[in-house]
Amino acid sequence: SSPGKPVILKCRSPEKETFTCWWNPGSDGGLPTNYTLTYHKEGEKIIHECPDYQSRGPNSCFFSKKYTSIWTIYVITVTATNQMGSSASDPHYVDVTYIVEPNPPMNLTLDIKRPEDRKPYLWIKWSPPTLVDIRSGWLILQYEIRLKPEKAAEWETHFAGQQTQFKIFSLYPGQNYLVQVRCKPDHGFWSNWGHENIIQIPSDFTVNDT
């Protein structure tokens, strides 16, 4: 039979310079079915086709810098076609300005520091995700840390602002702590939590108030 109606799931940009859309193909009617993504941009009448179906895996379309405009509405449709006919998705309206979701921060390192004059602390350091330009002011990243003793149920979270390091003073001595970091652009979605790191807190680490 003719194909079912595809559904555009979501579009995301990791750094407000490129973006990707994914769709759910729906039923192929039992026949070889071909999927075409077409779009037109606000202020233009020309209909374009997806520039790159490959880079981001099946049922996806990747818009590189060359095809990405900000503050502009894209009207996107996916059409499924086989021998028996075709079926078009509802139009999906996207402005890249509002779909920024960065990749998680990287290189999370943990260290116990023992300054002479002050209490010991856990020093957490990380670096921003690659490909994000935070040098020019185009995008500003903020970070959040969460940690907990290995067996504890609840995470304790700390907002670190734009810093890429953080000090934690109050921890339970002798416990193994799990630590993760995530980031968010000044305007956009939180990334996933980054890779988990674990550290054992020395037993002579004094308990402090947080």
């Binding site: 407000k16 606000e42 990405t68 503050w71 139009p91 300005t97 020019s136 002011g137 185009w138």
Partner: protein
Amino acid sequence: PACAGGAANCRLSLQDLFTRAVALSDNIYKVAEDAFRDFQKTYATGREFISRAINSCHTSSIPTPADKDQALNTESGTLLNMVRGLLRSWEDPLQHLTTTVRDMKEFPADMIRRVQEIEYKTHQLREGMEKIIKQVEPGVINDDIFAAWSGLSSLQEGDKNSRLVGFYNLFHCLRRDTNKVDNYLKILKCKVVHEGSC
């Protein structure tokens, strides 16, 4: 503290001015984003107003950079004047929006407060832009960058649905333009104050 050295060098630095401008523009955008989401949740859920918002912004007549490379390659004086032009182009619609929503019983108090807040803070930001441009490029004020707004009737006339479309478009365009202003100011701050490397 202000003017530790006394009257001689008693002036806000460009860094001070830009830091305040960026804090304000970031804040204005967040309030505009909240106002748009509130309006969408209250009046526009499932009504696909977005399709009618395309090409609806009165400021689309102002040519502005549409991606990072264009923004970074735009000369600072030009970008400053674009920000100034966008802000000036919103003075009239914000004034009307404030008075119109204030008189409308059905508008939630939160939304009215946000619109008033945006109007007050964009007025503040405009004052800051005059000061910044005077310091960055004294002779470069360009009053030609301006877009007139003629959308008052869309807020007051016609049936409820068409008026809602009018409000939706305004909140949609306000969200977009406050984002533009915020982004351009953050780039300008890095360019002018931190020599392009924040």
